[in-house]
């Protein structure tokens, strides 16, 4: 690990200012991803600002009936929260489908959103990687790319975003609240937080230097059944090959509204807009779900080892939509 200096921030604004002031400074919260990457010298911060004790660890009801989740709420506390379990169960399901008990006790809400890809080549400093070293090339393109993305990729990068939590949040129309070093706050739709790789895969989010996530807000709970389904190589403690978060409101055999997002298939939590369009005001039938899955995966591009993800994603989509459309 490269040397760094350390400070503990007392307020959110101080934290943002401290990171903006020092080049090479980073926030640290749970540390479960950052320290892993620092040990491998993929991340080399020169200064760490500890934000883990900031008073951003509460889950609060909002006047509009929604929920405000502090950025320092631990994954395990969020999954266990009674309101999340009853009103936003897709989020609780996604959280307990991710990582291990130990990691969920440490990982924060903000940190989970900002965790980095588990692409093997991003992790291997002996190999070119446009994300780690811009312009050096992408080893995954012709390499072992079984875990890689099939939607939203570019010729520069096919790394997949690893979060389960963020997939559920994408389906729930979450927004991300931030604070800037000047103390200003803003709210970003979750879908605009992560960027697609394009020609600059090293630029992963729309956050500015020193801008810190303070909370995630959820609008009032959507009606309909909520399901998170994750397919992975082993039964527990593995990243998704394909996952689907679905909230389908289909009374009397007709889809009134469907919110769908996917994990494991794209460089960001993937909102399945094409599937949603196909589903809206359609009959809740197998044929509709097949059409929705086909529409969503139409632009998908495999790179060899990950070709199977396209067929797998269609099946997981179809089945999860069918299950979520069952009422009662």
């Amino acid at each position: 690990m490269k040397p760094f200096t350390y400070e503990r921030a007392l307020t959110a604004r101080d934290a943002a200012a401290a990171v903006a002031q020092k080049p090479g400074a980073k926030f640290i919260s749970g540390g479960t991803n950052l320290l892993d990457l620092m040990k491998l010298e993929i991340e080399q911060p020169t200064h760490l600002v500890d934000i883990s004790r900031l008073p951003l660890d509460r889950i609060e009801d909002m006047p509009d009936g929604g929920l405000r989740i502090g950025a320092q709420v631990r994954n395990s506390d969020l999954a266990a929260d009674e309101r999340v379990r009853t009103r936003y169960s897709v989020l609780s399901q996604a959280l307990v489908a991710g990582a291990s008990g130990q990691l969920r006790n440490k990982a924060s809400t903000g940190g989970n959103l900002l965790q980095r890809t588990r692409c093997y080549y991003f992790y291997d400093r002996n190999m070119p990687c446009n994300k780690r070293e811009p312009g050096s090339g992408c080893s995954a393109m012709q390499g072992f790319n079984r875990m890689h993305a099939v939607l939203g990729t570019s010729d520069a990068c096919i790394a997949a975003h690893p979060s389960d939590m963020a997939v559920a949040m994408a389906a729930l129309d979450a927004r991300v609240e931030t604070i800037t070093p000047a103390g200003e706050t803003r709210s970003i739709p979750l879908g605009d937080l992560h960027r697609l790789p394009g020609a600059t895969p090293h630029v992963e989010t729309s956050l500015n230097d020193g801008e810190m996530i303070t909370a995630v807000t959820l609008p009032p709970a959507p009606s309909g059944r909520q399901i998170y389904r994750k397919v992975r190589d082993r039964a527990s403690y593995a990243f998704a090959l394909v996952s689907v978060a679905a909230v389908v409101d289909a009374p009397n055999g007709r889809v009134r509204a469907a919110r769908v997002a996917m994990g494991g298939v794209a460089p960001k939590p993937w909102r399945a807009a094409e599937a949603e369009k196909t589903l809206a005001n359609s009959t809740a039938a197998d044929q509709t779900f097949t059409q929705a899955a086909d529409a969503e995966m139409k632009p998908a591009q495999g790179r060899g080892h990950n070709d199977f993800k396209i067929a797998l994603a269609k099946r997981v989509l179809r089945q999860t939509l069918a299950d979520a459309a069952k009422q009662g």
Binding site: T32, D36, K39, Q102
Partner: protein, 217 residues
Amino acid sequence: MISNDDRNWPTRRRLLEGGTAMGLLLATGASAHSQTPQSGQLPGPAPVPTMPLKLRINAREYPLSVDPRTTLLDALREHLGLTGSKKGCDHGQCGACTVLVNGRRINSCLTLAVMHEGDAITTIEGLAVNGELHPVQAAFVAHDGFQCGYCTPGQICSAVGMLEEAKAGWPSHVSGATNGKVALTDAEIRERMSGNICRCSAYPNIVAAIRDASGSA
């Protein structure tokens, strides 16, 4: 290194350390003194200033001074001689380093010691009370929940934390998100313990020990 063990009889660790030093002496024919590296001769990175720190471990206060890079695991093992917590993968994948911080299980390899001032840390060394094994420790002995034993301190600390989580009604991938009551079936125990790997594959006995300790046997 401060030893947490005031007894004078030889331990496996002391025997191994003594043996290694003796082996080096015999192999080189040099005196221990000449093995000391000369300081100030090789150019290297500037030394990192250490930070003073107080850690509360097993109800005892330990003052120490560490490089900020020191993980909680390395502080326990290398600075305080609490070598019960093990280093397996050092990347949060195996669970051998699991300790309890304010009652919650975490991977001590994936957190910095300087981040834990003021926390109540419990390691495997702190589970027994007045020489009496913790019920989870006793259950691992009774069910032979190990082979080589390297993952065992992490398994036991993890199980202690997990049983509290289940008692609090935390959901899991097996039990789903809605029902607050947790029945610790074997499938449930396996899911909740998936952050602890056992290369000897003593899983059937580990599950039996935890089931027994949970009182649901």
